[in-house]
Structures are given as C-alpha cells and as structure tokens.
C-alpha cells in the first residue's frame, strides 16, 4: 500500500480512538460501548498493516477486489452494532414502562393516604 495512504489511515484510526475516549471522559457514551468501538478501531488499524493477508483471505472467499471485502465486512459490523443498539432501546423502553407504571401506582397510594390523613384530622 502507498505510504501516504498508510499514514493517512493510521492517523484516522488514532483520531477516532481519541474522540471515543474523550466522549467517555465527558460521559457522553458508556465505557462498555466505547470498548466496542475502540475494538473495531484497533481491528481496522491492524488491517492497514496486514493487507497481504487480507488479500489472500479475499481470494479464498472469492472476492476479487480487496476494497469490496473491506466494505462488505464493514457493513456487516455496522449492521450488527445497529441491531445491538435496537436491543438496548427495547430494554430501556421496558424499564421506562415499569418505572412509569410503578410511579403511577405509588402516586395513587400517596393520594389515598393523604385523603385518609385529612379525613382523620377533620374528625379530630
């Protein structure tokens, strides 16, 4: 691979890692999700230096142009992460549901107790 391209790609990967970690610091993303992203980043970084092996692998699975294989796998990984994110959304929706329901029931109980107390006070 062209030297300039290698330097450019490495810089890009490093920049991404820096951005991810600064986001963790500011608590904009969770640590466990940051790990996932930085893992992906490290894989890409390794891929930059192992193009020969990747080429052999591409030939093995029958993909003629290396970039096609990279895009294919990139797409698959992004899809997998997206599916992961939708499961997180579902999980959070469930939690919000439970919280909303319990809060409503608790509110009802508080009103009930307040009424009982008021009635008691009135009787005194």
């Amino acid at each position: 691979m062209n030297k300039n391209l290698t330097i450019f790609l490495v810089c890009l990967c490093l920049l991404t890692i820096i951005v991810i970690f600064s986001m963790v610091k500011k608590k904009k993303i969770l640590f466990k999700h940051a790990l996932l992203w930085s893992l992906l980043d490290i894989v890409l970084l390794i891929a930059v230096f192992t193009t020969d092996i990747l080429l052999d692998f591409a030939n093995l699975v029958g993909i003629e142009v290396l970039s096609n294989m990279v895009f294919l796998f990139g797409f698959i990984i992004v899809l997998a992460i997206l599916i992961g994110v939708t499961t997180i959304v579902a999980e959070q929706k469930n939690k919000i549901n439970v919280l909303t329901q319990e809060l409503g029931i608790l509110n009802n109980r508080v009103r009930e107790l307040e009424n009982e107390q008021n009635n008691g006070n009135n009787k005194k």
């Binding site: 909303t100 329901q101 319990e102 409503g104 029931i105 509110n107 009802n108």
Partner: protein
C-alpha cells in the same frame, strides 16, 4: 369476592365520568366492585376531571399505550389482592350490566372470560365490512394457532382470575394486546371462555384505528405477527414439572 374494574383512559375527559357513574351503580350478589381509572398520559383534561369528581385513578406520567395502561391496572389488582380483574373501556362502549355474567363464568372455573360481540347476535354493534373481515381473519389465525375459536379476539371487555392477574402483571404486550394475549393464555393451558354481551357505539372520542388508512393495515400485520410469535414461543404452564 373482590372485583376490580380496570378502565384505561386516553383523552376521555368527556366520557370518563359517565363510565364511572355507570360502574358505581353496578353490584354483585356476593362481592364488591371497585374500579380504577388508568390515565395513560392524556393530553386533555382527563386528570383534572378525575380529581374534580373524586375518581380513583392512576396517573401515568408518560403515554404507554393501551397495553401499558391496562397492565398498570393488573399490577394494581395484584398489589391490592383482588380476586377478579375486569377490563372495561372508558369510552362508554361496554355495558356494566354484563359484569355479573362475566364474574359468574370466572366462578365456574374459567381463567379468563371474554365479553364477545359475535357469539350470538345480541348487539346491534355495527362495524364496517373491513373491520369484520379483519376480526374474522384474527379469529381464524387464533384457531390455527390454538385449535380454539375465539369469535371476538379484539374485545377489550374481559374478566380474569387471580392466576391471570399475576400473569398479566408480570408480562403484557405494550400495544394492541388483546388478540396476542388470548393466544398466550390458551397456549399456556388456561381456560378461556366467551360469553355474549351487548356493546354500544362509542359515545365520544375516536377509535385509535380510525385515524387513517394505514393504521388498520399496520395493525393487522402487527397483530398477525404477534399472534404467530406468541403461538410459537409460549409453552404450557407447568409443562416442566410433568
């Protein structure tokens, strides 16, 4: 026999007072009927109306959808130790005179009893052709999945005993839950029965399915899927013990 009427209400400021009045008149020979309105994050004055009229209500800070609201009622029934919980619409469609009939069926040993528009042609309930076809389709799908005919799978007028209250309090689908839960309940091996009831035209408000053309289509696809998934994923209760 402690009976709880669960009334889910979303933007029902006009009809909720009358519904509650009707329920307060209802009585049982051997039991008490309480009610709870679940205000599902209404954007109108449902909450204010409830406070002003001293209605027992649960106020959900978010709009959860019909399933989430009804489940709140089941949780309330579970926490307050009710024997029977009956779902009852807040829009005046259901008739409180049939409550004793539903309770009687539960006492006969059924786990869940559905107040049905179509068992006998009791009601003059008029629905559109499309709607009838839709309901027939859901009936057929449930028949295929469970080998049992349920003639009115979308009916929201249903009574359940303690076992089902506990089931529903733990797990209940969020939106359009009626047909879906019937399949789950039958598959789990509980006894389901349908009795004829009369339903009125809704007095106020708009059905959630009448807002545009795509909603009913989306509803049918979604509910059909939900039924199939429930049928495939539900195992008989106690099957492990045998």
């Amino acid at each position: 026999m402690k009976v709880l009427m669960i009334i889910p209400a979303y933007n029902e400021e006009k009809s909720i007072v009358n519904t509650v009045k009707m329920l307060k008149k209802a009585s049982l020979k051997n039991g008490t009927i309480d009610y709870v309105v679940v205000n599902d994050g209404s954007r109108d004055n449902t909450k204010k109306v409830c406070i002003e009229n001293d209605i027992n209500f649960i106020d959900l800070p978010n709009n959860l959808g019909i399933g989430g609201a009804v489940q709140t009622g089941y949780k309330y029934a579970l926490y307050n130790d009710y024997d029977i919980a009956i779902q009852f619409d807040g829009d005046g469609q259901h008739d409180a005179n049939y409550i004793p009939n539903l309770v009687e069926e539960i006492e006969k040993g059924n786990d869940i009893v559905i107040g049905s528009r179509f068992v006998k042609e009791l009601s003059e309930f008029k629905s559109t052709f499309i709607r009838r076809v839709g309901i027939k389709w859901l009936s057929l799908l449930i028949k295929i999945c469970t080998r049992k005919w349920i003639y009115d799978p979308t009916s929201g007028f249903r009574a359940c005993n303690r076992k089902i209250i506990k089931e529903f309090a733990t797990d209940y689908p969020i939106d359009y839950p009626e047909p879906d839960t019937i399949v789950t309940i039958i598959k789990k091996g509980y006894k389901v029965n349908e009795i004829p009831v009369k339903m009125n035209e809704r007095t106020d408000g708009v059905s959630s399915l009448n807002t545009n053309i795509f909603k009913p289509i989306y509803y049918m696809i979604k509910v059909s899927f939900a039924i199939i998934i429930s049928a495939l994923s539900t195992k008989k209760v106690g099957a492990k013990d045998e």
